[in-house]
Symmetry: C2
């Protein structure tokens, strides 16, 4: 979940980068005055699922930084060439080795401080044949009262879980949008 590396050299031709506003633009960009390339940097989508079995939700205990030793919904950076749904499924399979039926879009949460946009889909576990993936120490099902709220890895995850249980208690699921502000738990540098 690290931020981008500030560019110093043009990835196209190797020349030194100039940070300036290109013609017709109004923002400073990483420009190459040798080959003319402009290297845009944009926020990155993080995609995941809320996998459910009866009244319980699947969480993963993170094996890696940031937030190793904290619980998360299965989620990770969306890869090029895949859709957000495909990415959410892939992350669920990679982190929890879980077999799911994908459900509707549930939450879209902006995290501008780390240049990310987190997107969670509801999902149903098809069976209990799940296990910790390479980046996971443990995978467990939690009822609402068992959720380790003080050991949740990211605020997008605790926000999504809270909204999920609120919707479930009123018997009606919606799609939610939210923004996590400046007091974000930042990843260790």
């Amino acid at each position: 979940m690290f931020q981008h590396i500030d560019a110093r050299f043009c990835s196209n031709c190797g020349h030194t980068i100039t940070r300036r506003v290109p013609d017709g633009d109004c923002r400073v960009r990483d420009c190459c005055d040798q080959c003319g390339a402009i290297h845009y940097v944009n926020p990155r989508p993080v995609v995941g699922t809320i996998p459910v079995w009866d009244d319980r939700v699947l969480l993963c205990l993170r094996a890696i930084e940031p937030r190793a030793g904290y619980w998360t919904l299965p989620a990770g950076f969306m890869e090029v060439g895949e859709s957000s749904v495909a990415g959410a499924r892939r992350e669920t399979e990679e982190e929890a080795c879980a077999h799911i039926e994908m459900g509707p879009l549930f939450s879209v949460i902006d995290v501008p401080a780390v240049e990310q946009l987190h997107i969670f889909y509801r999902a149903k576990l098809l069976n209990l044949d799940f296990a910790a993936g390479a980046e996971t120490l443990d995978v467990r099902l939690f009822s609402e009262s068992e959720i380790p709220w003080d050991r949740i890895a990211f605020r997008t995850v605790s926000t999504t879980l809270r909204l999920f249980f609120e919707d479930r208690s009123r018997g009606h699921y919606q799609t939610h949008t939210s923004e996590i502000g400046g007091s974000l738990q930042r990843a260790p540098e």
Copy 2:
């Protein structure tokens, strides 16, 4: 709306890039064997609005490629440091000089072929004081029957407009997800 430039040099140290699977990963990445940087590439969010005045929707006639001379909802690449809502508002102001009240999330449309994720919010025009921005030739309001369906710039826009009018006719707006597949109108190279 162009795709990323394939990296040949490390933007951190200028050394030649090696395309290989890093330790602990399962995908080929742009790796630097001199400074150790791994340059991840992820899909980019495009954010925009559906600005409404009474029964009409605002569209912009594109002045720039791709799809110059075609109509679009105001939208563009989300910038680092802003939320998707803030980006959608900014694009609406830049392309249509329009003053809006932001509404709920309306559509989330994957376009994996061009490594993009398009997100549209509903919006209300606060007044008729709009005008063509720098990347726009003309801005007009269209009723449903006036929409130039064969002159819409992008399939994410025509899909969003179609879903919007369907929801409006049944008097109930939802959040929609969709994926635009292989037959996408690609930007000219």
